[in-house]
Symmetry: C2
Subunit: 210 residues, 2 copies
DNA sequence: CCTATTCTGTACCGAGCGGTATGCATCTGA
DNA sequence: TCAGATGCATACCGCTCGGTACAGAATAGG
């Protein structure tokens, strides 16, 4: 029995999208309910009926962000070798944090790294999500060791931590207004450094060595 | 004519130190005046008389932080070669963001990367300070090129951006609770990567090549 | 001792916070 | 056509925010 009573007068997906951008630009605590409802084009009771509370709205925004703005991470993990995984991750990250049609930086950092004690859960939630991504990258590197495109003595967790540290630093830079082209240079340095330290070889190097 | 009227009943330096830690742990917007006065052990009128406003208090806290908690950066810049500059910077940064007697992470990030539009100046101020540090590092690398311990074709600005991105990522990790030992591994990877990409040589390499 | 000066504690300010009660509008199903 | 259900808009809730007025307390200089 779907659709009883008066139908809602707004698109919940579009409203969530607007909320996502407000959180991204102003952080969880910096985004007031007035800011949110104004951007979403709805009133507070509609927001609460549709999304539950400010914190639930935020978590849904983060989920949406992970799905659509971090899609490149899944694409990166699907690359055939560790080198290409990292290359894709670093290069796509640069694009993602400097999209002209989106706020600068990355929601999972801009959302809030430090919060009032009342909202400590929010900062913790974001930190946990980021570390989950890092764990997934470490797992991918473990597979790369098994498949031989990383040396047997490579440390997957440490390498993943290095790569994620760089992407986080890049996100901070982007939020500070650093240009895409500048971040691209940094990504190439990090990628070359990763290859040199880990022993991962680029497709070109592999081709040449055959 | 010093000391007219009733003398103040608290140590302004100690009070600023307490405020610094609150801002560090909770961020600018997450730190309420009540949180601050409670930690500082004074009442609001005393705070306003001594520090002006919440924002001025924050800026003074950041200045104090730069002076005492970022002292290692000046020590790093004074190292004789680019390699040692970076080695000191990365290793000391790991210690600084994981001091057991201090909040985790780095005030210039925890203070706030995103703010409500009212407080946009605060996030901008922090971003500017961080980029100023990066510029100083780039200058140090330029000197290193002139002195020959970086190759002539090295890009000082890009290398500085890479190093700062890593330290910022490490600070984010530390704030998320990642252990000092784990960050130390990351720093060594970044250092080795920096050396490999930039052509900077460690003192040991230099000694061996003579 | 008195006055001028400065600091301290209390009590308060208007504004905005996150969240909600209520009454009306709009839909479906019978 | 009307009952039940749902969404919408307004107006409001208690609370906390950053900031301050004011009166009393403590000092120095005279």
């Amino acid at each position: 029995m779907p659709q009883r009573g008066r139908p809602r007068g707004f698109d919940a997906d579009e409203a969530l999208e607007r909320a996502l951008e407000v959180f991204w630009r102003q952080g969880y605590e910096g985004a007031s309910m007035s800011d949110l409802t104004a951007a979403m084009g709805i009133n507070k009771p509609s927001l609460y009926a549709a999304f539950g509370s400010k914190e639930e709205l935020f978590r849904k925004a983060v989920a949406r962000y992970a799905e659509q703005d971090m899609e490149y991470a899944r694409r990166a993990f699907a690359q055939p070798t560790a080198y290409e995984v990292v290359a894709t991750l670093l290069r796509e990250n640069v694009l993602a944090v400097t999209r002209p049609d989106r706020p600068a930086g990355c929601l999972s950092i801009q959302g809030g790294t430090a919060c009032s004690s009342d909202n400590a859960a929010v900062a913790g939630f974001l930190a946990t999500s980021r570390l989950a991504g890092e764990l997934a990258l470490a797992d991918r590197f473990t597979r790369a060791v098994a498949e031989g495109d990383l040396p047997a003595d490579a440390d997957p967790a440490a390498l993943a931590r290095f790569v994620m540290s760089v992407t986080e630093g890049q996100a901070i830079h982007a939020a500070a207004g650093v240009a895409r082209e500048a971040l691209r240079q940094t990504a190439e340095i990090a990628l070359a450094g990763f290859a040199a330290v880990s022993g991962a070889r680029s497709p070109e190097q592999v081709a040449r060595s055959v």
